[in-house]
Amino acid sequence: MVSLTATVTGKRQTQRPAGRSIGRPGLAWALPATIFFALFAVVPLVLVAVLSFTTWSGLGSPEYAGFDTWARVFQDPVMIKSLWLSVLLTVLGVVVQTPLSILLGVWAAGPQRNRAVLSAIFFVPLLLSATAVSVLWRALLDPNFGVPSQARWLFGDGNLFGTQTAAIGVLVFVSTWQFTPFHALIYQGATRAIPQVLYQAAQIDGAGTVRQFFHITLPQLRNSIITSMILMIVGGLTTFDTVLILTQGGPGTDTTISAYYMYDKAFKGFDFGAGAAVALMLVVVATVISLVVVRVSGYDKMAGTKEGL
């Protein structure tokens, strides 16, 4: 903080135009945060690339291994399967959560008072941590003491963690339960920002509620849909706690998605090189998909939804 005093300007320098340079902080003010962030986020990101070319068991020092680690990772069928499972879970998550959260958000944006009260309850899952949500549902869906054991007419043998289909269903359901309120809040805020003029004009033209929804609300929500989808994709590809607590990647490796595979390789199998390689792949895939979504949707051109108003 020594340099701070240096940037303090002299008193009443009237020859300089006020507001141009006086009272403007030097770059030194940004330094502590930048260094801290670089140290704990940027350096690890670089290190993950470096470590993916080494073998390291967690003890001693990593040893350079060239492309051996990458070759080993790509020869593991479980890894290839985990990539597909990640994509599958992400796609299912987006497909299930997007319509649900749009409907819920648009509904909650309505002016009625009962909606405010109900919304307060609707958004309670947001208050629970991912860990708490997973532990709660693991207990509720317990094969012996949970709801499925009480409703065998619906759940068959009651073990929702015994088959791949059921386990994936559980994972999609639990993340939907947990994250839909969050995305609904995005849509609620965006819906409230839609100019009322549009609806009034549509009503004069005789458009009903459904047509208004498809021709005004949905197009106006475009930017929010893209934001929310990017968050879902990145979140879906990096889902970890839910899998660790609910299925532990099982049955067998049937729900071992990439993020869990990475954790399992590194911290259970002590193959940190392989873990780093998978981690790097996840970052690249998530970034590429986000960029593609941004490009395809034209989001980067910042097309406004308020043109002509």
């Binding site: 940037t7 300007t9 006020a18 006086i22 009272g23 403007r24 902080p25 030097g26 770059l27 003010w29 940004a30 502590p32 945060a33 930048t34 801290f36 962030f37 670089a38 704990f40 986020a41 940027v42 350096v43 690890p44 990101l45 290190l47 470590l51 390291w56 967690g58 409907l103 819920l104 509904w107 109900l118 309850i121 899952p125 208050l127 629970l128 941590s129 991912a130 860990t131 532990v135 207990a139 003491f145 949970g146 709801v147 054991s149 009480q150 339960w177 969050f182 809040l185 009503q203 934001t227 990145v234 990096t238 954790y263 590194a266 911290f267 873990g275 780093a276 981690a279 970034t287 986000s290």
Partner: protein, 272 residues
């Protein structure tokens, strides 16, 4: 103009209410029953007895320690964020140099780094720094990963301060430091409360960093405690769910008393 009630939307809303309400009801109901009653009646039965033994048992199994550790982590993370982000956001908003836009871009880039991607090198860095199994080793990365979102939120707030006010301060010959403390900080209240809530939630709910960077009972935070209880308690579901309820109480209190700040904090950049 009067619209007819939308029955379909109402039905959907009721369905979602059941989907959210039922699990919460089962959770609360289970925690006040004895283990035997829960096993006999199943999760959907209405509790016939009332006992707080499940909660007391959790504290006997170390929940108090976990709670304390989580408070330490949360308070430290919030303190670091409050110390680092306001000067940073002030610079980004008011400094016009080329370096500043580079710094801002770095933090925007940081938004895209998922914590999952760096746990392996983080384990390496923290171990080499001798901070493994130490709460400091959890606090530092957790705080660092709060910075991008908090920076974005606070620069948004500070941009709304009109330049007239800055000019007036400059006319008075106010130093940078005075401008910061007497103009910028007092006018950034809403942004500041949002970043406090956001970073507090991140720290309180954080799971990944504690999972890979700590191991002993003395450094366990609540989320890890829950994870451990799940395997340790086995069939003691009421005890497990009581711990889930306990872990949520502080967040629930904030929700009741500062709903707006909490919702904004929860949304992070998502709300922008």
């Amino acid at each position: 103009m009067r619209r007819r009630p939308n029955y379909l939307a109402g039905l959907g809303a009721l369905l979602w209410l059941a989907l959210v309400g039922l699990p919460l009801y089962v959770m609360l109901g289970a925690t006040v029953q004895t283990r035997e009653e829960y096993s006999a009646g199943g999760p959907l039965a209405f509790p016939r007895s009332f006992t707080l033994d499940n909660y007391i048992q959790d504290f006997g199994n170390g929940f108090g320690q976990y709670f304390l550790n989580t408070v330490v982590v949360t308070v430290s993370v919030v303190a670091i964020v409050l110390l680092l982000v306001p000067p940073l956001a002030f610079t980004i908003v008011r400094n016009r140099g080329r370096g500043t836009s580079g710094v801002f871009r770095l933090f925007l880039l940081g938004l895209a780094i998922p914590a999952q991607a760096v746990i392996v090198p983080m384990f390496y860095v923290i171990s080499k720094a001798g901070l493994y199994d130490n709460l400091i080793g959890v606090i530092l990365p957790t705080a660092a990963f709060c910075l991008p979102v908090c920076t974005l939120i606070l620069t948004g707030t500070m941009r709304d301060i009109t330049s007239d006010l800055f000019e007036a301060m400059a006319m008075d010959g106010a130093s940078v430091r005075r401008t910061f403390f007497q103009l910028v900080l007092p006018l950034s209240g809403s942004g500041l409360s949002t970043i406090v809530v956001f970073s507090a939630l991140q720290a309180w709910n954080g799971f990944l960093f504690p999972l890979v960077l700590t191991q002993s009972e003395e450094t366990k935070v609540i989320t890890l405690g829950l994870y451990n209880f799940r395997t340790q308690y086995g069939i003691n579901i009421p005890g497990l769910l009581a711990a889930v309820v306990l872990s949520t109480i502080p967040v629930l209190l904030v929700y009741l008393f500062a709903r707006r700040a909490l919702v904004q904090g929860l949304m992070g950049v998502g709300g922008k």
